[in-house]
Symmetry: C2
Subunit: 339 residues, 2 copies
Amino acid sequence: MNQPKQTKKTTIYDLAELAGTSASAVSAVLNGNWKKRRISSQLAEKITRLAEEQGYALNMQASLLRREKSKIIGMIVPKYDNRYFGSIVEAFETMARERGLFPIITCTRRDPELEIEAARAMLSYQVEWLVATGATDPDRITDICAASGVRSLNLDLPGSRAPSVISDNFAGARELTRRILSNCQRKVGRVEPLLFVGGRGTDHNTSERVRGFRAAHADMGMTVNDNHILTCGYAPEKAEIALQALAQAEGNLTRGMFVNSTISFEGVMRWIKRSHHYDGRPPIMGCFDWDPFAAMLGDDIEMVRQDVPGMLNAVFNIIDHGSSKIERIQIPPLFLGQS
Amino acid sequence: MNQPKQTKKTTIYDLAELAGTSASAVSAVLNGNWKKRRISSQLAEKITRLAEEQGYALNMQASLLRREKSKIIGMIVPKYDNRYFGSIVEAFETMARERGLFPIITCTRRDPELEIEAARAMLSYQVEWLVATGATDPDRITDICAASGVRSLNLDLPGSRAPSVISDNFAGARELTRRILSNCQRKVGRVEPLLFVGGRGTDHNTSERVRGFRAAHADMGMTVNDNHILTCGYAPEKAEIALQALAQAEGNLTRGMFVNSTISFEGVMRWIKRSHHYDGRPPIMGCFDWDPFAAMLGDDIEMVRQDVPGMLNAVFNIIDHGSSKIERIQIPPLFLGQS
DNA sequence: CAAGCTTGCTCAATCGATGAAGCAACAATT
DNA sequence: AATTGTTGCTTCATCGATTGAGCAAGCTTG
């Protein structure tokens, strides 16, 4: 092989010169529409061979500049520290590639400033669509995209100015709560209201889950005390602090708990271990979100699994059909256990 | 505000016309070197205001085509289903952005074909560096990059033709093994050789860890039977099957286990629960890699935490100084427990 | 044999941003 | 008055790929 270890990259002009032909012909051959452009297959073969020999790689910047569509699709995602967002990203990449789209993904660490900055960066890269996952201010992102004529879409957390695909948080939380209460009945012999831990009271998902949580209690003729709704944020430490404070204030905590995310669950479990509050009579738990190890932490910790493939099918359905109808699609979450 | 809801994007030519000036002046103002180009601050202000009003966004493709450096840095990563790779990606993004680089990351799902395809795609996007994380064939990627004059770097799994930053797998595994054996002594009252579960026997990390595993046994005057090294792959199911097979063959499994990754650990724990093999006398476990929930699964499951910040510091140290020296940098992993 | 068609290419404009070179207007210096 | 310097711009070529338009050579048809 004759691979030049050059610094300068090979362009179609270099190949044209080597092949004794024009850049135009090279371009046509390499981007596959040489039949349309009536290039002979001999020349096509020669050019293809040369391109391979020279290790030619298309300059996407130049190509995209000329073309009308970029085929780039962007996603912003808050964190990579849990299975839920991890599987969203994996599925997104796979499904984008299946459609010949190039996915670019950025993690914004729940930082509103970074979300905006990342969205702007993606617009500069000429994304055709931007999927804002779990964004703190989805409408702001929609506006920024709209100003550049780029369509956007909310995932996980809904916005009001672009289509949104989210879990059915109300129904999911209601069923999860029902299951935890039923486990309480089965294991402790009686039911009493549960504690709700984690999430931001201001975000849509959390408030819907609180609503479902209350509804499930109401279904069984119970009401939940407001100070048993600990929407203290997602971070593990915040859950720990909130539990500690409540335990101090009330002496005894409830037997059952609804935890609003695996990341909060981490803090809850840490506090339980550290405080020895539940030693000898483990709490009856449920978590909105799934993690394989968390699921193994107790005999039957109920875990709702959000339907990531279902959600991404809905996302790409919108993208495939170009619909920008501002609707909110709610995907029922999955309960893998028996009960 | 006068935001045009146009489809066509605003360019510097549009702004130039609106401002009654030239595209060149607009460009100079918007990319910040208008002082160097002696543009008056009045004009600069006017252009800045117009750009904001019109929702102007730079066309990166055009800009990059013209400039010599792309400031894009690529990373390929196998999976998003564990904390280790998740934190690598988060740290990589953060550190890249701190340096004014634009990170693009692609998940290749441990698929060798996809790794190559992804590398090629990144070259087309003119990345300046490509970090191949946990690649199955790092040298192939190095070669592809070299053919385009792009520097590359291996992370997590080493290659022979580019600088590599990896954990000190040998020392880490030796210390982890020592700790598991010491836990055995403390809890069971005697030590016996451990079982090694997970990973691919062919990959560098696994073979180094096996070496460390054997060394720790040798340190205590023990040898490990070859059929107690179950390098059955990383997937949870594979670990389950391997354990099942060994249990069937030998009747009784060892008291202690060294598990080679959290993802294999998942399979191990699943099998332990399902088979009831260890009911009543839980195994003494250690895992090369850390997961917060997995760590809570037993009284003292030893978990080695790979030093992700340390590794990425090493990566960016190479990038910052442009060194392409082919060296293998080994970062000691962290032991957070007391022992 | 002229007119028209097909084949197999080349030419040149274009996408949007960049920056070297140049130029007009005015000020300062000799 | 002539020279030199400074300020504040504009002009234009360029990056690499794409594509409509065009053109020469050969072939077909009436």
